[in-house]
């Protein structure tokens, strides 16, 4: 078990290293640089700036410096575009908002998704099933930049239940969390339904009924553990996506999260910020996938051996 964990951790670090290396050189391959403005800088100023950020050194040296700074100091470097701010500053400031939004969106996705999926599976081929699946289709097909403004219009402006923007308390969280979470809720509902239906037909479910177990016990103890596996698989990447922030939702609801940096840094060729975002996001995905693999072991004993 410990061995397995160590092996996987080494694997995660290796993958992360490959990602850092690839994205470092890819960023440099892209034409333009952080100091190519519409009005060109004077050559001596440019030289000074490049010297300050070590951009005059050969690429391998820059790469070496970058990687050692990450490993030794956990420092993702300074922003080239916003002088006196570092990538770590950006993450430190934006992450709490993004994480809160992601967390609440995940809660929305799980509660709505699981309950709709379970209801659909247990009431298979009834109007509840069709209703839940119709909502699921809507959920996956309405984009967040449509859903967000619609919710703002209805619940913010007409009904005045919730504020339409900002991030100052629980009431502010609801609309953005629903906007961000609805797509994931819909996917989870479909996966739950599928997984549960597959398990319902298993012989051991009939065994459980023949034993004289009551229906809730059959569902809770025998069906859910097997039926939930597809959802667990999905939850790894989904959590990573939710926690890494959404440019669109953060923009619509004016939340000062991480999302905007993803896009701005790439457009500005702000090398370190873009790299920092990529590394941060990949690390999230890798960690959550590892967590999912560990969860499998808890849920399915057949995977423990070997």
């Amino acid at each position: 078990m410990l061995r397995f964990l160590l092996q996987r951790l080494v694997g995660v670090l290796l993958v992360l290293w490959v990602i850092i290396t690839l994205s470092f050189f890819l960023m440099r391959c892209a034409p333009g640089g952080p100091f190519d403005l519409e009005k060109p800088l004077q050559p001596d100023i440019r030289i000074n700036i490049e010297k300050k950020y070590h951009l005059n050194e050969p690429l391998p040296a820059q790469y070496f410096r970058y990687v050692t700074d990450i490993i030794l100091h956990g420092d993702l470097g300074p922003s080239y575009r916003y002088s006196d701010r570092s990538v770590n500053d950006f993450i430190r400031e934006g992450l709490p908002y993004t994480m809160q939004l992601g967390f609440f969106a995940l809660m929305v996705a799980l509660t709505i998704g699981l309950s709709m999926g379970l209801a659909a599976a247990l009431r298979h081929n009834t109007r509840w099933d069709y209703l839940a699946m119709a909502f699921a289709i809507l959920g996956v097909s309405i984009p967040d930049f449509v859903l967000g403004p619609l919710l703002q219009l209805l619940f913010g402006i007409h009904l005045k239940w919730f504020p339409i923007a900002g991030w100052e308390g629980f009431r502010y969280f609801i609309l953005p969390s629903v906007t961000l979470g609805s797509y994931y809720a819909a996917s989870i509902a479909r996966l739950t339904r599928g997984g549960m239906l597959e398990v319902t037909l298993q012989d051991y479910i009939r065994t459980a009924r023949a034993k004289g177990l009551s229906e809730p016990v059959v569902v809770l103890r025998h069906m859910i553990r097997g039926g939930i596996i597809p959802v667990i698989t999905y939850l790894g990447p989904a959590t990573a996506f939710l926690l890494s922030g959404s440019l669109v939702v953060e923009k619509i609801f004016q939340i000062p999260g991480l999302g905007r940096h993803f896009v701005n840094s790439a457009l500005n060729r702000d090398y370190t910020v873009a790299l920092g975002m990529v590394i941060f996001f990949s690390a999230l995905i890798l960690v959550f996938n590892l967590a999912v693999d560990l969860l499998y072991l808890v849920v399915d004993p057949r995977m423990r051996k070997k």
Partner: protein
């Protein structure tokens, strides 16, 4: 110990399945009668073997007896109580007294529970035992079915098919039921293991005073364990008699054909059997389009005009031996 009232009395059991087929716009609904008017009884302490080929309604009968499928009609009286009429919760409590052993020992055990939990679950569910006493009880059950009690923390996938079936048997025994319905309990196992499991079932029958409804398609298997045998064809019982009587003196052409088809484990006799043997030709008629008259007339070597029109009733032609065939009317 023959009690006057049978432990299980099944009267005119019917099970219909609704099937819909066809395309998006012209969906057709039809009714498939899997079990048509089946009646039998089992006395306490006896074993009834229910035999028939695949698709004849054996398993459906078993499930309908245990109310795992709601019968469309008829009554299932267990200890004088009609299970069909019971309310959900009363039925659930009554399940303590009748348990089932399933055909597929691979699919019928929850892969995510330890063997101990699987066997303990019925006991916990009905509040029979808990804590240390529960663990002792589970270990005792495992020992009785011939498994090492230390296996309690292992998972089903760590066992062979025969061992898994033993787990299933321990689970069914846990509540000390009066009736056990065994739905082809050995057909998924290697022949070498089948005898072990059959002997185990016989031993346990004595130890726990069990009554069995034993379902199989293999006549040799059923002969080994049954007191009475009922032969099913096309959702109906066509012949029923004491075990030896069926083998010595089969009256229904279908039973005769079944017996003639089972190989004899003696090369000399087997050779002569093969020479005389004429296999049944043709197929079982479709359950969706029932044929009039006797359902066996499409394959029977002795078909008479009356067979194509009138369904022969199950009648007692000699004491204790009932047959549904027009040939015996003469």
């Amino acid at each position: 110990m023959n009690l006057p009232i049978p432990l299980l009395e099944v009267k005119n059991l019917k099970v219909d399945f609704h099937v819909s087929h066809g395309g998006l716009f012209r969906r057709q609904h039809s009714v498939l009668r899997a079990v048509a008017d089946v009646s039998f009884h089992i006395k306490s302490g006896e074993t009834l073997g229910l035999v028939g080929e695949s698709g004849c309604g054996k398993s459906t009968t078993a499930r309908a007896v245990l109310q795992l499928i709601k019968p469309t009609g008829g009554a299932v009286e267990f200890d004088g109580v009609n299970l069909v009429a019971l309310k959900k919760e009363t039925l659930r409590k009554a399940r303590k007294n009748f348990q089932m052993i399933f055909q597929d020992p691979y699919a019928s055990l929850n892969p995510r529970m330890t063997v101990g939990d699987i066997v303990a679950e019925p006991l916990k569910n009905f509040g029979v035992a808990k804590g240390k006493a529960l663990e002792r009880e589970v270990q005792d059950l495992l020992q009785r079915v011939g498994l090492n009690p230390r296996y309690i923390r292992r998972y089903p996938h760590e066992f062979s098919g025969g061992q898994r079936q033993r787990i299933g048997i321990a689970r069914a025994l846990a509540l000390k039921p009066k009736l056990i319905v065994a739905d082809e309990p050995v057909s998924a196992l290697d022949v070498s293991i089948q005898a072990q499991i059959l002997n185990l079932l016989l031993d346990l029958k004595g130890q726990f005073q069990l009554t069995y409804l034993f379902i199989a398609h293999d006549l040799a298997v059923v002969r080994h364990v049954s007191d009475h045998i009922a032969v099913m064809y096309y959702g109906k019982i066509v012949e029923t008699a004491p075990s030896e009587e069926i083998y010595e003196n089969p009256k229904h052409p279908y039973t005769q054909a079944l017996l003639a088809a089972s190989p004899i484990p003696d090369p000399e006799k087997e050779k002569s059997r093969r020479l005389q043997y004429q296999p049944l030709m043709g197929d079982v008629p479709s359950l969706m389009k029932p044929v009039p008259g006797c359902p066996f007339h499409t394959r029977c070597p002795y078909t008479m005009p009356v067979c194509k029109e009138v369904l022969p009733p199950l009648k007692e032609y000699t004491p204790g031996h009932k047959t549904a065939c027009h040939l015996l009317e003469k």
